[in-house]
């Protein structure tokens, strides 16, 4: 019973977070206000319809995503003399198992990412990841981007410059999302937020898949 309760509380948290984190993740006062507004409206809505159901209907932005099969992991040939430069597959291997913030599926299964959507230039030290949100209005898109950034920060040395973008035409707010994802300070600020940080960590290290 206790555990169930906690679980419920968690699930409410997750849904609230996108709203809660907005002020920090979008630090401009305008965004702040908008976020507060949306939060208030959600709270009101919740009071009207009962907390549980409210969160159910509001929280899931894409309630029924298309799930794809996991691709088979290709074992690399053990050649001691081959050039072990960083390649898209290596990056993909690091990020394919990140869990989606909303669903118990990996980004690979939801086809948010693919090996082809990653480009890398080792000489210049640049990594570019294009990902495709499941729906155009996905508000989780920033969280996914944040997860990718944190994961790559953990896995690659700091001299790599990582660009994370949504695939052209795949999101309604494409431009602002891209701007936000590649803004160092906004990312840093978002990661200061303990709730958001927890959500990111859950996505990165969850074993629910």
């Amino acid at each position: 019973m206790e555990r169930q309760k906690r679980k419920k509380a968690n699930s409410v948290d997750v849904r609230e977070l996108t709203v809660l984190c907005c002020p920090l993740y979008f630090p401009s006062p305008e965004w702040n206000r908008a976020a507060k507004k949306s939060r208030r409206s959600i709270e009101e809505h919740r009071e009207e319809s009962g907390a549980e159901e409210g969160s159910m209907t509001l929280g899931l932005i894409n309630a029924n995503p298309v799930v794809h099969a996991k691709k088979e992991r290709v074992a690399r040939t053990e050649d001691p003399h081959c050039d072990d430069a960083v390649d898209p597959l290596e990056i993909y291997d690091h990020v394919r198992d990140i869990r989606d913030p909303e669903h118990p599926y990996s980004l690979e299964q939801l086809s948010v990412l693919s090996e082809e959507s990653i480009t890398v230039d080792e000489k210049l030290g640049r990594i570019l990841i294009m990902f495709t949100p499941t729906i155009q209005h996905c508000s989780m898109v920033t969280v996914i981007g944040l997860c990718l950034r944190v994961k790559l920060q953990d896995c690659f040395p700091p001299h790599f410059k990582v660009d994370i973008k949504v695939a052209p035409g795949s999101h309604a707010d494409e431009e602002s999302v891209n701007k936000q994802l590649n803004d160092k300070e906004r990312v840093a600020a978002a990661l200061e937020n303990p709730n958001l940080r927890q959500l990111v960590d859950e996505c990165l290290y969850s074993s629910e898949l």
């Binding site: 690399r76 001691p80 072990d84 960083v86 290596e90 690091h94 953990d154 896995c155 690659f156 040395p157 700091p158 001299h159 290290y205």
Partner: protein, 1138 residues
Amino acid sequence: MAEPTELTRHVEAYIDTSRSPAQQAAALEAIASLLKSGRLTIEAMVREMGLYLTTTDAIIRAKGILLLAEVLSCLSSNPLDKITIHSLITFFTERLADWKALRGALVGCLALMRRNDQVGRVTLDDAKAVLESFLESLHVQSLGQHDRKLCFELLECLLENYSDAVIPLGNQVIDGLCESIDMEKDPECLMLAFHIVKLAAQLFPDPDGPLACVAEELFEILGHYFPIHFTHQKAEDLNITRDNLSSSLMLAFSSTPLFEPFAVPLLLEKLSSDLPSAKVDALKYLNHCSLKYGPERMAKHAEAIWRLLKDTILLSLRELILSFSPESLDTLETPRNEIADGALTFLETAVAQNNDLFLNLILGDADVNLIIQSISSYKSYTEISSEMKERVHAVGRILAVSAKTSIASCNRVFGSIRPCLLEALGISVRDLYGNHPHGHEHVDSEEISFGALFLSVLLLEASRDLIVGSEKATFLPNSGPEASHSIFQGFATGFERAFISTMSRNNYTEVSNPHVFLGVKGLQIFATFPGGLLPIQGSLFEDILTMLVSVVTQNCKNEWLWTLAMKALVNIGSYIFKYHQPEKGPSFMAIVVEKISSLLTSTELGMPYPLKLEAASNVGMIEMNYMLRIVRGVEEALFTNLSEIYTQVNIKSAEETVQLLHCYSTKILPWMQESGGTEQVPMQFVAALLSQIEGCNDLSSVAEEKGIMDATMEAVKFAVGSCSEASQNIIVEKTCSILSSSSYFSVDEYSFPTLPIEMEGLLSTNELESMPAKEKWVLSLFASVIIALHPTTHISNVRAAIHLFMRTFLKGHIPSAQALGSIVNKLCPRQNGERVPSDCSLEEAIDLIFNLSMRYPGKSKITLSDICHAASTNKSLQISALVGLAWIGKGLLMRGHDKVKDITMIFLECFLPTDGMSSKQASPEEEQDQNLHSSVMKYAADSFRILMSDSEDCLNRRFHPIIRPLYKQRFFSIMLPIFQSLFVKCDSSLTRSLLYRAFAHVVCEAPLIAVLGEAKKLIPLLVDAILIFSKDDAGKDLMYSLLLVLSGILMDKNGQDAVIDNASMIINCLISSITYPHMMPVRETGLQCLFAMSTLPHTRVYPLRTQVLQAIARVLDDPKRVVRLEAVRCRQAWSFLC
């Protein structure tokens, strides 16, 4: 008679619910032992317990009855008289109605019912009373798990041992049975329940009996359990697996034919289920049941069975890909599919049972016929659609399986599809009976369809297996063989031609061409047809062999084809012996073995030499006779080559000789030894080699180069090693006589070995090079022979041999040193006054080695240890002495001799700084001297590697050394304190690093268990050593081995305690290893160790977290991907420490 009070005490202890289970068990045991020893009788005990057994307090009564019952189970092997048993069983029978104290009653009944005749058994009447009471008063499914289990056990016992009591109660029993197993869910109870059904079915087999009336009802209960769905995760705490349950249910299903009307439809229905395990089970059950139910009953379902089986086989083969690699010459598809296997097995059973019925169905099936009719259109494997491939595959397998069941069905299958196949293969019927029985004409491989080839290969294989199997069982009905023979004959002639033409017309450029594969496989099948029923004439067998041999000799470029043909030849060869077809042996020998053996000596350039050797060894390994022929070929080639090499420079034959020798020692000799060949072969080989050397007076020096000498020595060692003592004695005698006839090993010295060795010769460094080539060969061969001897082999004049080897190893001849090591390892020690078999005991030999004096011109005499201590100024002499000493030490160490301590002390003393070297300002000369000295020290350090590691060249298991158990462990524990004290004393950095080198050799080779025991002392030293090695690349292999030792300690529970104490020191050391630039595995292992460190207690490792994370961040940029991945894993583990 025991004191009543004692009994009362025990009884009270048992019945008191507040006592612990252990106390209760002790009380029970005490009572049982009283009864067993006869100090107490059952009557007395029952009388004493009176009230406990009858009280109205249910808890106490239950306990009391249970106690009595448990005591009875303890007495299962003690005799009891009839009256006691009768009264007890009557009591328990009555108690079965007492549901509050049921457990005791069940246990008691069981204990009594399980007794055998010798110790007094329950009578049939009593058993019947038990059964009646059971059926009347027990409602099994309302009981707890353990009680249900007891009930089932009781029922099982009744059905098994008291069948006469059960049969009169027929209907009641079956009804009670149905009632009690209905809805059972516990796996243990189910196992019993299934067994009970089986027993009941055996008791009531009558088709009008009690079981027949309720068969449907009973089967309905059983059917619910199929397919077994078993979710219990930990199978080990139950001892029951899904497989146990499944096979037990299968036995219940098949227990009586009365179940047939219900079971077969159910199983057939499940066959179309989506669950693979259900399919596999259904097929297994069907196979088993059809055998039990009999052909008549199964015939009713034939059509449904065939329809479903066809679909199942088609579906299941879909996932299988035909593989055309040489390995799959035996079975066509490599990954086995359980469903396909099950379906084909069942089909085989079904066809065997109802032969005509099923063959009608199969051959009359529209799908099958469609494939057969259109078989000629499936021309090329690559062009057929994958769906058609599957269909052809499935039809082929179905036909093959049905043909395999009997001669008659084989004939029928062949008869019906032969015309289509022949047409598809492009052979007209007229050709068959024409005048060209083996002509290769008119069959154009372009027109041969893949499908037809495939089908014919499968069918031929099936018929061959059938004939081979039936020959073994010697069942040959009178009309059978002739009829089948004639059909095969006509049928096969065509095919053989088709296969040969496939082989000959195809250009073999394509890698893994399915046509060629099937051609080779077809030929292989033809060649393995048993002789009596051989559908082809003897000459055809020879044709096939000739064809395959020519493929082997002419297609060396195409590796796939070469291996394929080679494999086919080997298969044919082994078939001859597996199935006793001696009439084929001579042809095989003449065509294949002779030809391949002659390849070795021929100068034909078409085939690369390694391939020739591979072919030869493959063919030889089929059978001993072939191997002997091959060995003759190899030796012939070898001695011709060697004689050329001895006399003239011939680089080409030098390479071949090395390959020959290598093949001889690594392939042929081990095989001969394993398969119990005679020792004549290796002995004659060595003898011939020696005679050849002896006869050769003028050897060219080329022979030493190109590795011929090493290869020869290796071959000689292995050959001598595989001989028995008697042959070894002969070889040793021969070698000694050659040696003594040589003028170089001067006769005088040879017979008076105590004379001092003149050092003049030793002083010139290139003395070994100046040794005449022949003498060097003789010496090396002598050393090799000595190395491989058994301990019991007699060496005449051991002293002379030791003297000779002493002289030569000081010149830098390492095999001599190894031979010395081998001698001291194998010589017998002196026993109290007894004369040892050889003329020199171990002690004498050691004495000789260490006290043999050497004389400088004009100087005093010195001994071996003096040379090691740099008494001579000649450093290369000192190095040779050290290396030699190490081998001698190894021989002594392995047998656990004490002298090895002295030898290690000599090595360690080399590390001690020589006079004035460290203090004074070094002049250029002294500097050079110092360099030389450091190289000497390096050799001294590496001597420990020779001491500890297992060597390929000498004193390994093939050369029969004397090995004392745990010698490495012992040496390690002796050396550890010595090293510890030396590290403390040592102040020069050079000495220190070399000391660590020596130490590393000892630690790396020591068994892990010994290392773990000393982990606490060892870790600081290990860490220091790794830090020192991490400075340059000189000790990278050692560093890697040390890291492995460290990781071994880290992984062990006891080792971890030591690690915890030194955590920060180890972390520092690991951090230095993860950036080690010279060797990738070092970095990888370092990271793995760091990862393991993160699991240590939080308080110890948390303070180090920042330091580790910073270090790992640098490794994220490693050039090797493996290291990067390891770094990410490690970093994640450490960053989660908070």
